[in-house]
């Protein structure tokens, strides 16, 4: 009834190429943005921020980054944890070296540094494809984690080998360290997520996104019709690295505050973000959000159900979580290989025809 293009006339090219062509979608988008920016910061408390909202926002950025690489450009990467560590350590070095500079600059710069590292590890992708590339990116994962563990310069020669986020602010509002308030950290991450999602959305529907998808669908054919594989693959690695670096920096500085690299950015992190992308939907920005929300909420829900309601020991619940995540991944791959995003798309398609399906 209300969810359709009819009656919504486009009178300029600008209107014709807008992100949400259907009026209902557009208003829904504005409503979500207004709710996220104007309502949640005023009602948020520490538990909600730390248990659900911050991890969701930060993982969503990482998932968007990985989705660009895996979902749009078809280059499977298992090095996400290592690249997030690059973002975190870059942010740490910048924060301690230039204390008076705003955090926004630090986070963006960490993204840039990660992009450079990511491109360096992406260079072999020109020769290596498919699985071989997936395994080659493991080299990045293990090498980077080892590097941050072993070279004392990266953790400023601290005795514990950990890095701790000092207190830094944005326009006078503290966003890192133990004294940061929940609303400030939340809004800070939300701004970055919005920025990343907007950039990603507009990149993927433009020329550069189309070259990525051409490479993904068949790289030789794409090369023959004139797509430059060097440029397409390396830009995908760079953009992806930029987002993943931002999420790594936020993960360390805003969310955790103190990081031991092997624990926080190990191989399990790489798989976690990859699962978000698969469950959410390969090649979809909305899917990155859905996958991140799903995998952040799942442990919380399971913990509440298992430990608080049924009274099981926590280790059994933790094992169940593995079983359920594993089963869900297999289930999604069998039933809906395109993930939650496809379910959403189908629902929207149904809604467009409703209530006259023929």
């Amino acid at each position: 009834m209300f969810y359709r293009e009819a009656g919504d006339f486009k009178v300029s090219y600008q209107q014709d190429s807008q992100t949400f062509p259907i009026k209902f979608d557009r208003y829904r988008y504005y409503a979500v943005m207004a709710f996220a920016f104007l309502v949640i910061p005023f009602v948020i408390n520490d538990y909600w921020a730390n248990a659900i909202l911050l991890p969701f926002l930060i993982y969503a950025i990482a998932a968007i980054g990985l989705n660009i690489l895996v979902g749009y450009c078809g280059q499977v990467s298992l090095g996400t944890g290592g690249f997030m560590a690059v973002g975190a350590y870059a942010c740490y070095k910048l924060m301690t070296a230039f204390p008076e500079v705003s955090m926004i600059v630090h986070v963006l710069l960490s993204g840039g540094i990660t992009a450079i590292v990511c491109v360096a590890f992406g260079l072999p992708s020109l020769r290596i494809k498919g699985f071989y590339l997936a395994v080659a990116t493991l080299a990045a994962q293990f090498f980077l984690v080892w590097l941050f563990n072993r070279v004392p310069w990266f953790y400023n020669y601290s005795a514990s080998g950990q890095i701790n986020a000092p207190e830094r602010d944005v326009f006078g509002i503290i966003v890192t360290g133990p004294n940061a308030s929940a609303w400030a950290t939340y809004t800070f991450c939300l701004i970055f997520l919005t920025f990343c999602a907007l950039v990603a959305r507009n990149l993927t529907r433009g020329t550069i996104g189309r070259t990525w998808m051409a490479i993904r669908d068949m790289d030789i054919a794409a090369e023959i019709i004139g797509v430059n594989p060097l440029k397409a693959k390396l830009t995908a690695f760079a953009v992806s690295g930029f987002f993943i670096g931002i999420s790594g920096a936020l993960f360390f500085a805003v969310y955790l505050g103190a990081v031991e690299v092997g624990e926080a950015f190990g191989i399990t992190k790489s798989f976690l973000v990859l699962f978000m992308v698969i469950i959410g939907g390969l090649g979809s920005i909305f899917g990155s959000f859905a996958g991140a929300a799903f995998l952040v909420l799942l442990p919380v829900v399971l913990k509440v159900l298992g430990v608080d309601v049924l009274g099981w020991p926590t280790d059994i619940v933790a094992h169940f979580q593995l079983v359920i995540v594993g089963a869900l991944i297999v289930f999604f791959l069998i039933v809906e290989p395109h993930g939650l995003a496809q379910l959403w798309r189908v629902a929207k398609e149904k809604l467009r025809l409703w209530p006259f399906p023929h």
């Binding site: 395994v135 493991l138 090498f143 072993r150 079983v323 089963a327 791959l333 069998i334 290989p337």
Partner: protein
């Protein structure tokens, strides 16, 4: 003979032994990849699961006892028997065959014809699932596995080398046994695939699914067979690693170590898996010995991957892999 050289020789020998163990895990990968084109990430977890099941059966542990106790409030833990190793191994093989059948029935059958990367991700899901199940079934604490394999320093080698070089090499008996068993395993696999009906059918399926179907080979049966054989190889690897360092979660991470082995050797070649394993084993031990102290040690964590990465840049199909031909 200079001391450094003698040390290097000992390190090389130990590296060769470690390489054999990597090769054992890699072998399981190659088998499944050759027969079904599936890159089975769950191989390492299968080794963990097999070793845990073996320990559980031998000690008479009640499966899922922790969970049952939590739900029903009972206090059951053991059946109260202790089985000899060989019975335990036979029962574990049965469990692995059952697992193979279930994987085929509930997962792989529904994914026929999907892209390889989707299948790969399905096996990652499978790995998580199996890891959770094995923890639920047998508990997640570190277990001791002892099926009667010899362990400890080999005195004969120690003495002989002491007489020759004036320095006794430390070689674990277990590593020697592992090498012998790996050689036997590879030999029997080659004989199986060359001279038996099922083995030939397996190779036919590996060559061309459609053609194999059209001459009356049951794909379902062959895939269950392949997964069972891979389960058996996983069990052997699990026993070796489990005896060496206890049955624990880190066992499943050897799958990650097997990946660079495979890339070096090529995914489709059994000799490749062996040679790749040896190269990685020797390479990482020697690198740690020679360069490790200079850069802070623990280079074994990443050396294998970086070596494989550099190698692939020059030869993308691995040492013995089939040449990759790409067409539009």
């Amino acid at each position: 003979m200079p001391e450094q050289l003698v040390f290097a020789m000992e390190v090389t020998l130990n590296g060769l032994m470690a390489g054999v163990l990597y090769a054992l895990v890699a072998l399981g990968f190659v088998l499944i990849y050759k027969a079904s084109g599936i890159f089975n990430y769950a191989q390492g977890v299968m080794a963990l699961f097999a070793a845990m099941t073996l320990v559980g059966i031998m000690n008479g542990q009640v499966p899922f006892s922790h969970l049952i106790n939590a739900i029903l409030g009972t206090e059951i833990h053991h059946f109260g028997w202790h089985l000899p190793g060989i019975v335990g191994i036979i029962l574990t093989v049965a469990v692995m065959v059952l697992f193979a059948w279930m994987v085929q029935q509930f997962v792989m059958r529904h994914l026929v014809g999907q892209e390889p990367i989707i299948l790969f991700m399905a096996t990652i899901g499978l790995a998580y699932f199996l890891e959770g199940v094995s923890d639920l079934m047998w508990g997640s604490e570190i277990k001791k596995l002892d099926v009667g394999l010899p362990q400890g320093i080999n005195l004969l080698i120690d003495e002989t080398t002491f007489n020759i070089f004036g320095y006794g090499f430390f070689i674990d008996n277990l590593d020697i046994v592992a090498t012998v068993i790996a050689a036997l395993l590879v030999a029997s696999l080659v004989i199986f695939s060359q001279y038996t009906k099922q083995g030939r059918a397996m190779r036919a399926v590996a060559d061309d699914h459609q053609a194999a179907l059209s001459v009356g080979i049951s794909l379902n049966f062959i895939w269950v067979l392949v997964w069972s054989v891979a389960g058996f190889v996983a069990l052997v690897a699990g026993i070796m690693w489990g005896t060496k360092s206890g049955v624990q979660f880190s066992l499943s991470l050897i799958a990650l170590k097997a990946l660079p082995v495979l890339m070096l050797g090529g995914f489709t070649s059994i000799p490749g898996a062996i040679v790749g394993g040896l190269i990685i084993g020797v390479g990482e031990k020697l690198f740690e010995f020679a360069i490790g102290p200079m850069v802070g040690g623990a280079t074994e964590n990443w050396f294998a991957y970086v070596l494989a990465l550099l190698f692939l840049v020059f030869r993308p199909q691995g040492l013995f892999g089939e040449k990759i031909i790409e067409r539009v």
